[in-house]
Symmetry: C2
Subunit: 168 residues, 2 copies
């Protein structure tokens, strides 16, 4: 099973692809889709949707894990985050990829056993578990891999036939 984790934002979206075979997890790829500040939202969304579509096609993604529950700091930033998530969710839905949402706390809990671990601690654990050099990876890409890992751990516990819990 191949899981695509997406840590969505208008200006910098992290992605991480995790291959799961039994109890063995392998990071296939990770990175960021970056949009310059000067770009209008429509162009950011076009690039974001195109990037996610390309990843799904290149890696034959089975399932996706995105961030849920987190809102912006203001009504305006919440709306902009909504635009970006809506764009990503549309591509996933059009490609028939099931969407699972995890809160930042769930992601931390899954990787470290505590919901209060720092982002840096999570990155170090990820580096060890997946045997990757986190110093060469952007923070948003590590966050996306952590989302994919969170879903992989849930499947390990509950089996693959879990209900989708996409953001509502």
């Amino acid at each position: 099973m191949i899981i695509l984790g997406v840590d969505t934002a208008m200006r910098c979206t992290g992605y991480g692809l995790l291959k799961v075979e039994g109890d063995c997890f392998q990071a296939l790829d990770c990175g960021i889709i970056k949009n310059a500040q000067k770009l209008p939202h429509s162009e950011c969304l076009r690039r974001l949707a195109g990037g996610i579509r390309e990843l799904i096609e290149s890696y034959q993604v089975d399932v996706s894990a995105i961030e849920g529950a987190y809102y912006g700091k203001s009504v305006r930033t919440t709306m902009i985050l909504g635009y970006a998530r809506g764009s990503v969710m549309t591509v996933l839905a059009e490609k028939n990829i099931p969407i699972f949402a995890y809160s930042p706390k769930e992601v931390k809990l899954s990787a470290s056993g505590t919901g209060t671990a720092s982002k840096n601690q999570i990155a170090v654990i990820l580096g060890t578990m997946l045997n990757i050099n986190i110093d060469t990876i952007e923070k948003d890409a590590t966050d996306a891999l952590a989302l994919a890992l969170c879903h992989a751990n849930r499947i390990s516990r509950c089996g693959p036939d879990i209900f989708t819990n996409e953001p509502q």
Copy 2:
């Protein structure tokens, strides 16, 4: 020039297509894309994106007018409205359709000359101007036609080469 007005929402999105030839405006089509309450957001977004894409292709849309500035009543409804708008904006951007955003006040001002007109008053004015029977049209479809009309009036005043003012 053909203008697509979209009054976006997750459960009921209104659309209206307006043909502009000089000072002559003609309503080509209008309606709603409805999503049942029980449908998950991913399925709503898939249907919404598919519906907007079909309208653009069927009517050879040149430009779009969507609602800007309006936010939801809570952080959760703002995020959900953001999902839906992000989906619509992604399709418009991928089809290279310029996006113009207008606040509810601008739409009212454009149709009636006052920013405080009721939705019903706007609908009556629209019915007269476009020679359509508003009693047979859903409210969200009338709102979408009013958005398209707002952009048509702006073009009449300023010419077609106005800068996009998509939602930020």
